[in-house]
């Protein structure tokens, strides 16, 4: 046999063996453990930065749970798959978890697309699905899904209400507002509403604010120069940005390049860390939250140990920003809901668990949550506004959740 062909043959044999053993190994490396809880998360892809926060929170919760004797006296194992932040991979993932992995329980993923897709699958097989958040609340039609983040069913009305009330409560309130919105589904819903009802724009107008600009940009946009130009031209009293992830710092940098600084700026769901890293550019920026590390929230059920364990784990993982906030808390709360349901009915039967959660108040790090099917099982809106003051996030409104003596500072310059 020619030498070249021999080498060719050898390479093929070696590679085949390698891949074969690899796949075998992966297939065999499956433990048989008592109670298995399945989820998918955005471990890779555009939403991965937040996905990782959820992963840490969930892992710590399970660790704590097992330290305290597990669930119904049995240890808990979290089977986690990657959905890359997309709906179809989440749907496929949950289907695999239920049918191939045969998990006992489910916890929802992160992100609107993944969550809505997961709900469809859970519905198909009748599984209870507590999940962190999914702001297209009108999609939560499955009766065994339970949302942790308390936005209220009509979040497209109530949440902008909270935000604008915070600003209108200042001595020199804004009169004009500009809207710059990501094409992320829930951001669009929150700002534009649905079927001609609600949305931050209509709420603003009802409260007497004048809308001077309204544009949408693609998810993943990093170059905001053109948008910054239009904002500068409109020169609003308040800039309302339906932002996700890194949009905030990117937009702020673009405005800085043009030498423009808005008098007030609100960012919907930014990654908290990068906002702080933007330094002086971000001073005075506000956002919405349902959990922060302050006295008001630490009174809630499970909050102190959540904070302690998350901070430690985040530091170990080398996260740039280790303060626990709404994202981590929503994952923790989702688990709290699941555990409460299982322990409440003392069973692993999906119907029994669902019934318990439906009919009882569940204490969580967000506060006590109730689930009304008429409200699509979305807990009432108890969110708060936080602001970057002196390089730190501080909850400023309403008083129930605010830091003692803090105020919303407006205008910024």
């Amino acid at each position: 046999m020619k030498r070249g062909n021999l080498i060719h043959l050898l390479i093929i044999v070696v590679v085949t063996l390698g891949v074969t053993l690899g796949i075998w190994g992966a297939a065999l490396a499956q433990d048989v453990t008592p109670i298995r809880v399945g989820s998918t998360l955005a471990l890779t892809g555009g939403l991965a930065a937040t996905g990782k926060i959820h992963q840490i929170a969930g892992t710590e919760f399970v660790k704590l749970l097992n330290e305290r004797g597990g669930l119904l006296g049995r240890p808990v194992e979290w089977v986690l798959l990657d959905d890359e932040g997309t709906g179809d991979k989440a749907a496929a993932g949950y289907e695999r978890l239920i049918t191939a992995e045969r998990v006992d329980l489910l916890v929802g993923p992160y992100g609107t697309a993944a969550t809505v897709a997961a709900q469809g699958v859970a519905d198909r097989y009748g599984y209870v699905l507590p999940f962190p958040a999914q702001s297209l609340t009108y999609n939560n039609v499955y009766d065994r899904q339970f949302m942790a983040w308390p936005t209220g069913l009509d979040t497209h009305i109530s949440t902008p209400g909270i935000i604008f009330d915070a600003y209108l409560n200042t001595p020199n309130p804004p009169k004009t507002v500009a809207f710059v919105v990501s094409r992320f589904p829930s951001a669009q819903f929150l700002v534009y509403g649905r079927d001609g009802v609600g949305g931050a724009i209509r709420v603003a107008e009802e409260k007497g604010l004048q809308v001077v600009l309204d544009i949408s940009y693609d998810l993943g946009t990093t170059d905001f120069t053109a948008i910054a130009l239009r904002i500068r031209q409109a020169d609003p009293d308040l800039l309302f940005v339906g932002a996700l992830g890194e949009d905030g710092p990117n937009l702020m940098a673009a405005m800085a390049q043009l030498g423009y600084r808005p008098r007030g700026q609100f960012y919907l769901w930014p990654s908290p860390g990068p906002m702080l890293e933007a330094g002086p550019l971000a001073e005075g920026a506000t956002s919405i939250t349902a959990f922060e590390n302050n006295a008001a929230y630490l009174r809630n059920h499970g909050a102190p140990e959540f904070v302690e364990r998350f901070v430690r784990a985040a530091k170990e993982a080398g996260l740039p920003y280790t303060d626990p906030e709404i994202q981590a808390a929503s994952q923790w709360a989702a688990w709290q809901i699941l555990v409460a349901g299982v322990e409440g009915c003392q069973c692993l039967d999906q119907a029994g668990i669902a019934e318990y959660i439906q009919n009882n108040t569940i204490p969580t790090v967000f506060g006590d949550l109730t689930f009304d099917r008429n409200q699509n099982n979305v807990p009432p809106d108890i969110q708060a506004v936080k602001q970057i003051q002196n390089g730190q996030w501080v909850v400023v409104y309403p008083d129930r959740w605010a830091v003692e003596g803090s105020q919303l500072i407006y205008p910024s310059r």
Binding site: A27, R96, V116, G120, R194
Partner: protein
């Protein structure tokens, strides 16, 4: 007309139709149905792509536009207008076919858009479709569409079963159409275009009509399959529908399997999907994409004709090897689940097919020294 492969395929289809019934009786994991649904989906996508691009040799990168049209049509009709799935599917197919017809009508008139420029144009259509869907509130506008509570006929035990049969039906349809075309005058014309379009025209082949027909069929089938897939996806959003991924995988599967035969896309879909499913479930999604990319490179470099031809030549030894591999796994390594067993068996068979002819002939001759008239290796003397 080659009857044997066709009969084998139909027999397989009948067997596949029985699997859900087996599942009901024996109670093994429903996941097999899900896995097979995806195989059917990819077979339909790759076959529909291949019966134009593979046969005629004009590589369309716009498959995702047809798929996306099908997906969104079904999603909008069901969720916004309350249609049922069986009613929405023909519309989805028709609209995708119309898109293909329109694009084809414009593009095929122009001689200047041959070869890579055609590919580029279809790439633009694919990407553009996504932007249009994103910017048009009536279609998507950014909020996506959730397919909640879609009903299925009482005949089926679950939505999973329903999707399984819909997917199987579409795959069988696509393959039948591709086979029918292959052995018809249309097919011969397309192959002639593949070899040299100008010569084909000179010989009297109605190139414009043939290309348009095949391209439209491509759109119709892709739209139909896409419409069904919308229900599987549950939540339809521009990000997950209009990705280059769908176009690329349809191309890859057909090229891997072999573009000149209807069997090619089936083989390609089986190999690529089982590998990607197993790797994804083990958490290696990046590695899986690297392997996919490498496979494409290797195939183009070394085996531009795909594996079908080699499979035909090496059929018996390959089947024997597959049986042996499956048996070994079954006996020696418990517990191994069915899908992993299948994937490894497929992969080993693939390795066998990838052996270059010289090496293979050597190995085959060494294995059967008794036969004096070797099949093709007689010249070893």
């Amino acid at each position: 007309m080659r009857w044997k492969p066709l009969l084998a395929a139909l027999g397989t289809a009948a067997l596949l139709a029985a699997i859900p019934l087996l599942q009901r009786a024996l109670g093994f994991s429903v996941y097999y149905l899900v896995f097979l649904y995806f195989i059917f989906f990819w077979v339909a996508q790759a076959t529909s792509w291949n019966l134009f691009s593979g046969y005629a040799g004009m590589f369309s990168f716009g498959q995702v536009a047809f798929l996306g049209t099908g997906v969104y049509t079904v999603a909008i009709l069901i969720m916004r207008y309350g249609w049922s799935l069986p009613a929405a599917l023909p519309v989805a197919a028709a609209l995708a076919g119309l898109l293909a017809f329109t694009v084809g009508w414009i593009v095929f008139r122009l001689r200047s858009l041959r070869g890579e420029l055609f590919s580029l144009f279809t790439l633009v259509v694919g990407i553009g479709g996504g932007y249009v869907a994103n910017s048009t509130p009536w279609i998507d506008g950014g909020q996506g569409i959730a397919l909640t509570r879609v009903g299925y006929p009482a005949l089926f035990e679950s939505m999973t079963e329903y999707l399984y049969y819909l997917g199987l039906g579409t795959a069988v349809l696509a393959v039948s159409v591709a086979a029918a075309i292959q052995y018809s005058r249309l097919g011969r014309g397309l192959f002639a275009i593949h070899d040299d379009e100008r010569v084909a025209e000179g010989l009297g082949v109605p190139t414009f009509r043939y290309k348009l027909t095949a391209f439209t069929i491509n759109g119709l089938l892709a739209g139909l399959s896409g419409g069904i897939h919308a229900v599987q996806m549950n939540y339809v959003a521009v990000d997950s529908v209009f990705t280059l991924h769908f176009s690329l995988y349809a191309i890859l599967m057909s090229v891997l399997g072999g573009t000149r035969h209807w069997m090619g896309p089936i083989l390609g879909a089986l190999v690529i999907h089982s590998l990607s499913d197993r790797l994804a479930s083990a958490g290696f999604s990046e590695l899986q994409q690297v392997i996919t990319g490498s496979t494409l490179v290797i195939i183009i470099l070394f085996m531009r004709d795909g594996i079908y031809g080699r499979l035909r030549d090496r059929l018996q030894p390959t089947l024997v090897l597959m049986a042996v591999t499956a048996l070994v796994q079954w006996l020696a390594l418990r517990p191994v689940d069915g899908l992993t067993l299948l994937t490894i068996t497929v992969f080993v068979a693939l390795a066998m097919l990838l052996l270059p002819p010289a090496v293979y002939d050597r190995v085959a001759a060494a294995w059967r020294p008794r036969f004096s008239s070797g099949s093709g290796m007689g010249s070893a003397l």
